[in-house]
Structure formats: structure tokens, C-alpha cells
């Protein structure tokens, strides 16, 4: 299969570093520790020390860009978000915030695990170097020359073009990717608003704690009950912080698929683009063959400027005709090569296989995410019942 052994991968830690950036300005950034261990060693019960190296977010981005360009028919797993989005008011939008860094660490690990377990991507050498060669990795990546392809690809992806025979399945898949993107982003926004409001509801209850305590001071028999109930109200108000923090994990799962939708769309677009190029190349080939025929037989089928000038100024000399025919033959040969290339480049089967793989993964992952969300909700309800039952006990003792 491949020459690299199966590896256990994890992103263990995050650290702040300072250094000079490309324009010699001082900057602070975070680096993440990637630890790898050979799987068979672990399986055999040894516990070797893991190999490790530090990488920063921009290096992960570089790796991913390389993968996208090199495997245009693969739905490449996404990175965790560059900046905090869909933030509800209490959550920090600061990239240096420890909670954000922690969630990013988890996201980066998730990315590496997904890439390393992908049937195609796992074989990539550059990926291997990324995990094992701290220095020299960047050079290796640049040497692949992927950036040249990247530029043209990006330009092409944003260009508008019309395909004559669009593949129905890919078109539907592209449409689906738009829907997935729209729905996940809507959901994330709505969830953030709900979180905001729920936070408010819980926190206001904390005021009961204070007023019950003050009130208990002027009461005799009612005092103790009120005071204890007040404590429970305080606990209730405080409980929302943990609840919402846990929910961020759910939001991260949704975000992953929001970005996955983009990756899916890119694959469909790339397919569309190649299809377009194929059609152009085919068209070109046909017209060249037609020209050859005209030259060979002297029969002009279609109007051409050359034909007109020939009529007006007389036919050209046989040597010129021979030269032109030769040129055309070369161009036709080239054209046929191009068509062959483009046909393959569409990677129809490979893309379709990976899309199906993605689809199954998505269904499985999102269903699990929904189940976990339901579990979180149940846990919140149980806590609520607990607190209010406790408060009720105190009220009954008033």
C-alpha cells in the first residue's frame, strides 16, 4: 500500500511565541505541538516517546492549500476557523483568548486525524513531512510548485463560464453544497442568539438570591428558608456558564461542516471547470479538423476570411499549403492530447467516490452531533429540575 507506517497523531499543546514576521515586525503568535507515534509500537504494548514538532496555524493553512490544489477531486477536510465567528456576547472574539486557542487546538487535531485517515490523502508525502520534518517542510511544499497551479485555479474558480453539457449529478451536488452552507450558517447564527438570550434569563435569577437574603433578615420563621432558597437561585444563575461552554463544542461540529460545504462546492466547481475546458478543447479540435479537411479537399464548407481572400486574391502556392497542413496536423495532435488529458482530469469517478464517502461521513457525524446536543439539553433540564426542587424544599420550610 504505502511506505509509511500507520501513526497515532495528536495535537497536544499550544504555546505563545514571539518573533519577527516577514516584514520584520514583532509579532506574537501561537504554536501547536504535534505528537506522532507509530501505531504498531503502541499496539505491541511499547510506549515510546512520541516524535514532536511545533507548527503554527499558517503552516496548517499552507498544507491545506497544497492538498486542495494537488487533489482537486477530493473534499479536503477544513481547518478550524481563522477568526472567531458566530460569537455570542460573552464569548471572546480574540484569537489570543485561551478558550479560543484551546478550541483551535482541538480543531487542528481533528483536521490532522481526518486527513490522515482519508484513503487518498493519507498517502501524500508532503503530509508526511508536515508531521515529521520540523524544518525543510516548507521548502518541500514550495518545490512541488503547487502555488502556480493555485493561482490559476483560484482565478478559474471565480470566473463565470457556461458548460454545454453539465453533469446533472455534480450540479445537484453543487446545489446541495450551497444549501448545506446556508443552513449551517443560519443555524450557527440562530444558536448564538439563543445562547445570548438564555444567558440573560439565567443571570437575572441571580437577583432573587440577593433580595431573598435581604428579605430574610427582617423575617423570623421565614428567614432560614428564604436564605437557603436564595443560595439555590445563585447556583442556578451560575450554572449557565458551564452549560453554554459545553454547547460551543456542538457549534464547532456545525462549523466544521459549514466549511466542509465550501470544500465540497470547490470539488464540484473544479469538475465544472474541467468540463468546460474539455468542451473548449473538443470544440477547438473539431474546428481544426474541419480546417484540415478544407485544406485537403479545397472545399470550403464554412465562411472564412482566408477563403474570401483566396477568392479575391487567388489561391496560395502548394508549398504554403503543405506547410499549413503540417502545422494543422501538429495542432490537431496536440489538441487530441489535450482532450485526453482534460477527460482524465475531470476525475469523474474519483470525485464521485470521494463525494459519496463525504456524504456518509457527514450523515454519521451530524447525527452523532445531534444526539450529543440532545444529551446536553437533557443534562441542562435535569440540573434545572434539581435546583428548583431544592429551592422548593427551602420554600416549604419557610
Amino acid at each position: 500500500m504505502d511506505d509509511r507506517a500507520a501513526m497515532e497523531i495528536c495535537v497536544a499543546e499550544a504555546e505563545k511565541r514571539s518573533g519577527k514576521n516577514a516584514v520584520s515586525m514583532q509579532e506574537t503568535f501561537t504554536v501547536y505541538l504535534i505528537e506522532t507515534r507509530p501505531m504498531d509500537a503502541v499496539a505491541e504494548g511499547h510506549n515510546p516517546a512520541p516524535d514532536c514538532l511545533w507548527r503554527r496555524y499558517s503552516e496548517f493553512e499552507l498544507l491545506r492549500n497544497y492538498l486542495i490544489v494537488t487533489y482537486p477531486y477530493i473534499v479536503v477536510p477544513p481547518l478550524p476557523e481563522k477568526r472567531a465567528e458566530f460569537v455570542w456576547h460573552k464569548l471572546s472574539a480574540d484569537n489570543m483568548d485561551p478558550d479560543f486557542v484551546e478550541r483551535r487546538r482541538v480543531g487542528l487535531e481533528n483536521f490532522l486525524l481526518r486527513v490522515a485517515s482519508h484513503p487518498v490523502l493519507c498517502n501524500d508525502k508532503i503530509l508526511c513531512y508536515f508531521l515529521t520534518e520540523e524544518h525543510g517542510w516548507k521548502e518541500a511544499v514550495y518545490e512541488t510548485g503547487f502555488q502556480a497551479k493555485a493561482d490559476s485555479r483560484l482565478r478559474a474558480l471565480s470566473a463565470t463560464f457556461r458548460v454545454r453539457n453539465p453533469d446533472k449529478c455534480f450540479m445537484e451536488m453543487k446545489h446541495y453544497s450551497d444549501e448545506l452552507q446556508s443552513h449551517t450558517s443560519q443555524l450557527l447564527r440562530a444558536r448564538a442568539r439563543v445562547a445570548d438570550r438564555l444567558y440573560g434569563v439565567f443571570k437575572v435569577h441571580g437577583n432573587y438570591g440577593r433580595v431573598f437574603s435581604e428579605w430574610s433578615a427582617i423575617e423570623k420563621e421565614m428567614g432560614d428558608g428564604l436564605q437557603s432558597a436564595g443560595h439555590h437561585m445563585d447556583a442556578y444563575a451560575a450554572s449557565i456558564d458551564d452549560i453554554l461552554e459545553e454547547e460551543e463544542h456542538y457549534a464547532d461540529q456545525l462549523k466544521e461542516y459549514l466549511f466542509y460545504a465550501e470544500a465540497l462546492r470547490a470539488v464540484c466547481r473544479k469538475h465544472e471547470l474541467t468540463q468546460f475546458e474539455l468542451e473548449m478543447a473538443s470544440q477547438d479540435l473539431i474546428s481544426k479538423k474541419q480546417q484540415r479537411e478544407e485544406l485537403a479537399t479545397g472545399i470550403v464548407r464554412t465562411f472564412s476570411f482566408k477563403g474570401m481572400t483566396n477568392k479575391l486574391f487567388g489561391q496560395e502556392a502548394p508549398e504554403q499549403r503543405e506547410a499549413r497542413l503540417k502545422l494543422l496536423e501538429d495542432l490537431i495532435a496536440e489538441g487530441e492530447e489535450t482532450v485526453k488529458e482534460k477527460t482524465i482530469e475531470r476525475h469523474v469517478e474519483k470525485a464521485w467516490v470521494d463525494i459519496q464517502r463525504f456524504k456518509e461521513q457527514k450523515d454519521k457525524d451530524l447525527r452523532e452531533a445531534l444526539i450529543n446536543y440532545a444529551v446536553m439539553q437533557i443534562s441542562m433540564c435535569k440540573k434545572g429540575i434539581q435546583v428548583w426542587s431544592n429551592a422548593k424544599e427551602c420554600f416549604l420550610k419557610m
Binding site: P119, V194, K350, W352, I378, I385, W388
Partner: protein, 484 residues
């Protein structure tokens, strides 16, 4: 102080007041306000007395009944919903219900049915059913205040409502008001002194409540208490009444705060509800573009909707049951402070007159007029009534708030129970589906001409010759055309 009055005193109602021991006086001496009290015509114009009601049969002393009740209260179960139900002195039952709208040429208004069941002989019949409107309740309260100035009269729900802001005829408003009127009447009927007031009797029994007729006599008696000469300054207020005043002030403040908190919570919950509804619809619309995930997503949307409903119910309840009771107590405190002020005035008058009389006695040996003694009696009765009523009020307040707050806790628990049930049933649904699918994909099967093959991670991707092609089933029909 001994409680030597026999139990069941209130229900006798036949003993002349002279024979009834005032609980706060010395044990041996009966209360001696004189025979004036028993006169129905209210001939005594000068002094309004303890009970002030010149009825044929005297009212029983209040406190003995109160002490009985207090003991019973402690024995009552904490979840006794009706704190007034189980006392043995209860022989007057009143209910306010059945609101109806009346439209006349002049105005539109609501009446309520007031039903009475009683074994008291002050009433001619054992049952009554009359219709009354808010105005009538207001009349009753004013009359009670005038004729029983030394007692704490329970409050009515607010009289005026801003016409533009609140719909006086909306179901919720009428319902809330009716509950408050019912509470008011029950408190009055339950009061050992107030319940024997002839105005109450008229209110409960008269076919047509003619407010102008016949009871004018009574107001004169009340007047004399109200018309305490101004200019008497209170020297020293007894500490127990100071404590009452301070308590009321602080309690008032705390109730105000609780009212604000409760309102704020309702507001926050309403905004949360709006966002939650929107949140649910996003799941539902996402479900529309999915296949495998359609059922799970619709399930989540359904759960969110259920939670919305549960929250709505709870908020409605809080608005209708919790806030009105708080507001009612705030009104109660206001009227209590008024009574405290009147007590102060009564003490000031007595002390003022006493001082003047003592001076005169020193000058020309004029004996202390009987009038001054009557003032003293008046003040002492006032103090006694107030103290008794205060204890009673404290006890009722404790019950009311216990009920109110446990009610609030219950509503919250119910709300969470409903939500939990919804999410739990969703999990069952989702997990069943999961096990269902797992068994399917592990089997290579030919379903409708399509082939399912699992890809194992680590395998090289398909080369054009590999016969790996997947298709998904169902509606979208993504079966790929391009076979190798």
C-alpha cells in the same frame, strides 16, 4: 396574658360583649367599654369603640379566635392550598366567580357572581347568590374602612387601568381581577370582626345593593375616629408599633424589588422565546434539503417547538398568578401603614387631652373628664386590635408567600420536565435509527440494482479500473451514469 376564652367563641355570636374577655387585658377583668356598644342605634356619638359596629349582637373578641387559628395554622400541612379552610370557626363561605359582560346604553362593565354559604344567624338564609361589579367591592371596602378604622382591611386589586394599555375586557385581565376580588372577600369573611360587619352582610345578601340607603347611621360612628382633632403630636411611639412600621417599609421595598425581578425575567424569557422559535424553524428548513438527516433534524425542530410551548405556559402562569399577588401585598402594606398612622393619631389625641386635663386639675381641681378615659380606652382597643390583626396578617403572609414561591418553583420544575421528556424521546428515535443503519451498511447487498460497498480507510483510491462505485439510494437518485 391568659387565653381563657373558650374555643368556638366566634360561632356563638350571642354573648354580650361585656362577658367576653379581651385577650390583651388582665385576665380577671372583662372588657368594660360599657353597654353602649350593644346599642344598634349607635347613640354614642363621641367614641368609636373597639368593634365600632352597633349591631344587635356583638362581635366576639378577635384575638382568642386568632390564637386558636394560629395554633391550627402550625398544624396545617405545608401544602394546604387554602389557609382559611380548616379553622373550626369557619361558618361563612364566600366565592367570587362567573364573570359576565353587561352592555348598557351608558356603559359596559363586568359583573361577578358572589356566592355565600353560611350558618350564621345574622343572615336570613343559608345561601345567597348575587351579582356584583368592581364598584360594589370598592363600596364595601370603603365602608369597612370607615366603620372599622382600627382594623386592617385587605386590599382590592387596582381600580384604575389605563384604557389604552390594558384591555379591561380581556380574559386574562378579568380572570386576574376576579381572583383578587375572591381573595379580598375571603379574607374579609374570614376576619373575626370584619365578617360581622353589616355592610358585608348587605353586600352578600342584598338583591339590589342600594348604596345610599339606611346604613348612613354607621358612618357617623366611624367618623368620630376619623375626625381626630389635628394638632396632637405623638410623643413616643411604643416600640412594637415602631417595629411594625419599619418592617412594613423594608418589606415593601423588597416586594418592589421582587416585582421588578419577576417582570424582568418575563421580559428576558419572552425575547428568548422569540429566538428559540426562529432556531427551531432553521432545523426544519435544513431537514428539507437532507435525506438521511431529515428525520433527525425534524426531530430536533419538534423538540425545540415543544420547549417553546412549555416556556410559553410557564410565562403565562407567572404573569397571571405570581405578579398580581405581589402587587396585592404592596397595596396591603399601604393600607396597613394608614392604620398605623391612625393609631398614632389616636394615641396622640389621648395623650394631648390627658395632658390638658391634668393641667386643669392642677389649676382648679377639675376632675379628669370621662372623655379622657374614653380616649384611653379607644387607644388601648386600637392597640389591641392592631396587634391581634398584625399577628394574623403575619401568619397569613407567611402562608401566602410559601404558596406563591413553591408555586413558582413547581412551574419551573414542570417546564423542565416537559423539555426533558421531549429530548429523551428524540434520543430514543435517533439511536434506534443508528442501530438500524449500522446493520445495513455492514452487509453487502443488492438493493434495487445498486451496490453498497464499504471503503476501508488506508486503501488506495480507486483507479479507473477498480470496480468501486457507490451510489446513494432514495429520492435524489444520484446513481452515477458513468460506469467503468
Amino acid at each position: 396574658m391568659s387565653i381563657s376564652a373558650p374555643r368556638g367563641l366566634a360561632s356563638s355570636g350571642q354573648k354580650p360583649i361585656t362577658e367576653i374577655l379581651h385577650p390583651l387585658s388582665a385576665a380577671e377583668e372583662p372588657l368594660s367599654p360599657g353597654p353602649d356598644v350593644t346599642v344598634s342605634g349607635g347613640r354614642d356619638k363621641e367614641v368609636g369603640l373597639t368593634n365600632g359596629t352597633p349591631v344587635e349582637t356583638p362581635s366576639p373578641a378577635s384575638a382568642s379566635v386568632l390564637f386558636n387559628r394560629l395554633q391550627l395554622d402550625d398544624d396545617l400541612d405545608s401544602d394546604g392550598r387554602d389557609p382559611y379552610a380548616d379553622t373550626e370557626t369557619h361558618d361563612l363561605f364566600v366565592t367570587v366567580d362567573d364573570p359576565k359582560k353587561h352592555v348598557s346604553t351608558m356603559e359596559t362593565y363586568i359583573t361577578y357572581r358572589v356566592s355565600t354559604k353560611t350558618t350564621r344567624i345574622e343572615f336570613d338564609l343559608p345561601d345567597y347568590s348575587v351579582r356584583r361589579r368592581y364598584q360594589d367591592f370598592d363600596w364595601l371596602r370603603t365602608k369597612l374602612e370607615d366603620s372599622q378604622p382600627t382594623h386592617l382591611i385587605p386590599p382590592l386589586p387596582e381600580k384604575f387601568v389605563m384604557k389604552g394599555v390594558v384591555d379591561r375586557f380581556s380574559e386574562e385581565f378579568v380572570e386576574t381581577r376576579m381572583k383578587a376580588l375572591d381573595k379580598f372577600l375571603k379574607r374579609v369573611a374570614d376576619h373575626p370582626v370584619l365578617s360581622f360587619n353589616p355592610h358585608l352582610n348587605a353586600f352578600l345578601s342584598a338583591k339590589d345593593l342600594n348604596k345610599r340607603q339606611g346604613l348612613a347611621l354607621l358612618s357617623k360612628v366611624g367618623e368620630s375616629v376619623k375626625n381626630v382633632a389635628g394638632g396632637y403630636k405623638l410623643r413616643v411611639r411604643p416600640p412594637e408599633f415602631c417595629a411594625m412600621g419599619e418592617y412594613l417599609d423594608t418589606f415593601n421595598q423588597k416586594l418592589g424589588t421582587i416585582d421588578r425581578i419577576a417582570q424582568r425575567i418575563l421580559k428576558e424569557q419572552s425575547e428568548y422565546l422569540t429566538e428559540l422559535r426562529e432556531y427551531g424553524t432553521v432545523y426544519a428548513s435544513w431537514a428539507g434539503s437532507e435525506e438521511e438527516l431529515q428525520r433527525p433534524l425534524e426531530g430536533v425542530a419538534g423538540c425545540v417547538t415543544t420547549c417553546c410551548g412549555a416556556l410559553e405556559d410557564m410565562s403565562e402562569n407567572m404573569g397571571q398568578d405570581f405578579l398580581p399577588v405581589l402587587r396585592e401585598y404592596i397595596l396591603y402594606i399601604e393600607s396597613m401603614k394608614n392604620v398605623l398612622r391612625k393609631r398614632d393619631q389616636s394615641q396622640a389625641e389621648y395623650e394631648g387631652r390627658l395632658e390638658a386635663a391634668v393641667l386643669r386639675k392642677q389649676e382648679d381641681r377639675t376632675p379628669i373628664p370621662a372623655e379622657v378615659e374614653k380616649c384611653q380606652d379607644k387607644m388601648e382597643c386600637f392597640n389591641a386590635d392592631l396587634k391581634a390583626d398584625w399577628e394574623r396578617w403575619q401568619s397569613n403572609k407567611r402562608q401566602d408567600f410559601k404558596q406563591l414561591l413553591t408555586g413558582m418553583a413547581d412551574k419551573n420544575v414542570t417546564h423542565y420536565e416537559k423539555c426533558q421528556a421531549a429530548w429523551e424521546s428524540l434520543i430514543t428515535l435517533l439511536q434506534d435509527k443508528q442501530t438500524e443503519d449500522k446493520t445495513r451498511t455492514s452487509v453487502m447487498s443488492l438493493l434495487e440494482g445498486r451496490v453498497f460497498i464499504q471503503i476501508f480507510p488506508g486503501q488506495t483510491s480507486s483507479t479507473p479500473n477498480a470496480s468501486l462505485f457507490l451510489s446513494s439510494s432514495r429520492q435524489r437518485g444520484f446513481a452515477h451514469e458513468d460506469k467503468i
